[in-house]
Symmetry: none
Subunit: 210 residues, 4 copies
DNA sequence: GATGAATGAGATTTCATTCAT
DNA sequence: CATGAATGAAATCTCATTCAT
């Protein structure tokens, strides 16, 4: 059996294990058994538990980012405006996290598992935030507004948006009854924030004093 | 030294340890040492690692919920409307999470540490969501709108809002440069979502087709 | 409260605890709690766990030996012959072990708990064996037989008898249905061995070759 | 080194350790060291201390029962009557307990080490008691006696006999001077009880009044 | 006389990791 | 290429025992 296939089997088993039990609680024994190979082989191919987890994160991160990028940038016909791109990106995000719950769980949990992994997740977030920032900029142009958001504001908004999306993904995945469709979830988020963003693009700011 | 004092010392040390390393990676040895006591005493007072972590969660949860409730409901003069209450609640939330970063980290991490702990966090989220839901309802009335949100929509919105707030709190805490003040962070979130909520209260809904 | 009373309470609690859980598994915490006193007091009065267990053994040993001696030697009218004495001694033995099951359990278990305790039990067995040997000697005389058992034979017989009695005591105590009365148990043992002894006194010996 | 060999080494070391110190006082560290392996290997093969002790009991129990059964049932020429079978069984019993003192010690001690183990010993005793009961029944027939013992009487007698044998085995093993041969010990027991049994088979019963 | 507070030492058990074949 | 066999290190937890008051 070629190495690539074996390696994918191991990663599949590892993703499943880490998703179910978390990084620390998942044992290399169980992962090797689930992959149908012996433990030394796992070590031969993937060096250590930390490297194995990192490989899982990288694979799932790449898959998720590709899905979101594909959703936002592709499609037929080519999306006309930034709003549509954001909408499609969100749909792709929720569709992907729903289709690969274990992968999403690994990414979600990796955030709280200490330094080497949190950095990887931070990188992923930066990728997505960059994409969102780009779209917001284009949306401002679309709205005939040449006044750009201050960097600082955009950063905060993007984090809020990504945070909200993450929360909704977990929440949607964990529902046992009436699981909402990815589009429904995406619409909830658009309802929640798009109008506010539109107002900000126009230069309006919320202020506590009235 | 009286029991209560010792117990607080232990909880302080445990919160610090769990915040830094997570539940599994934090060792009872280290916690005991940081608390300045011997391990058996920790076990005598707090029964087990699981119970110790639960005690940490409960204490920090209670403190956080009290802070938010106090922020939203109190103040002089009594806040006139729901918008102000939400604003003050958010300020209190970000102020608290900034003032007690370890406590917040424990709560944030507990969510991904398996069954007994996730339930506790779910309970906390439910408490806060309930409060937010109440405020949104009153905001709708304030806006002269007798049409209530559908239950399902509110649930999604509240989750998105809480998720966004959580993300922002982590993000604000993790910045090393130019840490935003709690009020700035709260303003970011209000900007992000309040206008959209206002539109929804008026019955408007975002839709992908234009 | 006078020291003697306190000390008896402790011994009572200890006997109960050791009987239920064995020497190692019984904890000083539990014993102190059951006795209704604090742990340091137990240590003040009884020095250590080993000493406490030894004290339990000594007390129960003394009570059991006194009961057997009293049964064999006393009564009204004074028993006429050794057979009657043996019979009464056995009755007293089984009555005592049935009346104080915890005490008997402590003695029975002490035999398998390592050096310092096994010696104490060996001492008790020696006391009882001596008594039995005496009675057998008198029985031989009663039977008009001046030929004495060889020392070696008596030692073996006495051990067999005591072993059989111990086994029967445990067995009788552990029955949940149809608990036999002490007299029934004693009669079983007399049936079992007295005739054989009688034959031996007369000089007969069993031999494998017919 | 193949698994089976290692496993036997471990059981040997465990039997020795448990025999010397008892179940609780024997430590897994010491057992592993005596077996010449590391602790994790012991756990890998034998799961837990409880399982290890149980495995020891089972092995020694099987060996002892096989020895007794073989002694009672085999031999050349085929033993003619029940008396000879009992005699040979006893010889085999005392020979086995003398040849494997540690194994016998483990079995003897297991009886007082709490529920899961006591049950195992009870099972062993039941096996042997059943065998003895069978032989007694056949002995009654051999003696031309069609009157059977009452169930209850037999049960008591068998317990007394097994108890006596156990005691004698311990006693014989613990002698430092003049260790009696298995046959001598067996003869002691036959002398002690066989005549009495013979009388009972004939219907005679001992009674306290005369 | 009596105890609340505290601990040193050691128990069982698990896990990531590596040879020898 | 692949694995059965093996372990160093460390985790959680318990217990007999002692001060300071």
């Amino acid at each position: 059996m070629p190495r690539e296939v074996r390696e994918r089997q191991m990663l599949d088993a590892a993703v499943a294990g880490f998703a179910r039990h978390g990084y620390q609680a998942a044992s290399m024994d169980d992962i090797a058994e689930e992959a149908g190979v012996s433990k030394p082989l796992v070590y031969l191919y993937l060096k250590s538990k930390e490297d194995l987890f990192t490989a899982c994160i990288r694979r799932e991160r790449a898959a998720l980012v590709a899905a979101v990028r594909g959703g936002a940038g592709g499609g037929e016909p080519q999306p006309a405006d930034a709003e549509q791109q954001l909408w499609r990106g969100l749909c792709a995000f929720f569709a992907h996290t729903a289709a690969r719950p274990d992968g999403w769980s690994v990414l979600h949990r990796a955030d709280t598992q200490g330094e080497p992994f949190a950095r990887e997740i931070a990188g992923m977030r930066a990728e997505i935030t960059e994409l969102v920032t780009l779209l917001l900029g284009r949306a401002a142009v679309d709205a005939g507004c040449d006044e750009k958001f201050a960097e600082r504001e955009v950063s905060g908004l993007a984090h809020a948006m990504v945070g909200a999306a993450e929360s909704l993904a977990v929440w949607a995945n964990s529902r046992t009854d009436a699981v909402p469709s990815p589009k429904e979830t995406a619409a909830t988020l658009m309802n929640f924030c798009w109008t506010g963003m539109g107002q900000m693009i126009k230069g309006a700011r919320w202020s506590p004093h009235r």
